[in-house]
Subunit: 188 residues, 2 copies
């Protein structure tokens, strides 16, 4: 796929077809995502593949519960704007996608979040280039139940950085408007 | 350019041709970089274009000095491994590129670093698709001199997230080996 086309097709997808994603395709996408630049070639990432809707529902419920507790403890929390959605039982933070991949980062590394975000960016483009859709689901990252963390295979020294919903898009929405890029200064 | 080709050509470039980069092309790349996903469509980024080698040399000297001071204060600092390079007067952290673009992020936003990293990722690909080379230069980010910050036009409420060297590559190196991606678990 042509890069300019890819830039336009890579949208956050919130509506998926009921069509499974082959594990082989997921592995190809993960492999391409590790070609991203990263500080000192540390490659601080690791991946969990959740190709199971029941597990995704459990992850969604756990994350919603924890974020609502956080909002209740601190009504100024940035996630407060999502309270209505989070209180809706039928709202699944993974948008009922058939699959999700979680990018984990090794704790203690300085560039952990940035490096994993770069890999996530590659992941989303690599998925788009195969006709798949993705959505980086921040609201799905608040998984604290030790039992669930264990079932997901998250190693003790790792953090959940990017949970990415993955599936075939039912609809690719138009891009929301972007502001004209703000150029603070041009030095020539 | 085809995406798979792009993935292979996007390398961190540390050796640039002495060929200027047209401002128009830089603006196109910046525009494409703002198509990246970002939390809540905040678009928390802003850009400084430094198309001037003298300014880049000043930025490099300032950043090297500050990182060396940091290492001297704390010999366990992660940048300690770069001490030799940083002490070398002829080493320019921007690799003598003709140009650099700094991605700034608005302070106080929760997803600042991740969102700007996503835009930086798009920037590096958009540059590659035009035959340009880039290198995200972490060692160039330590600019503290208030006078220099003012000259660069960095607003008070902004942080330097990603200084990216930009220019035509003298040589595109082979990709350093990637480890096989580590899959913590597959849940089916």
């Amino acid at each position: 796929m042509n890069f300019v086309e890819l830039l336009k097709l890579r949208r956050s997808i919130r509506n998926y077809k009921d069509q499974p994603v082959q594990e082989e395709v997921i592995m190809e996408i993960i492999k391409e995502s590790t070609l991203s630049p990263n500080a000192g070639n540390e490659q601080p990432w690791e991946f969990v593949i959740v190709n199971n809707k029941k597990m995704l529902k459990r992850m969604s419920d756990e994350s919603k519960k924890n974020i609502l507790n956080r909002i209740n403890a601190n009504p100024k929390d940035y996630a407060g704007r999502y309270r209505g959605m989070l209180e809706n039982d039928s709202y699944n933070v993974y948008y009922d996608a058939p699959c999700a991949v979680i990018v984990l980062g090794r704790s203690g590394l300085k560039n952990l979040f940035v490096d994993c975000a770069l890999a996530a960016s590659y992941f989303m483009m690599a998925a788009t280039s195969r006709g798949l859709g993705t959505c980086w689901v921040n609201l799905g990252a608040e998984i604290r139940d030790p039992e669930l963390i264990k079932e997901l295979g998250v190693p003790e020294n790792s953090k959940i950085v990017a949970p990415i919903a993955l599936g075939y898009p039912a609809k690719i929405p138009a891009a929301p408007n972007r502001k004209e890029p703000k150029i603070a200064r041009i030095i020539t």
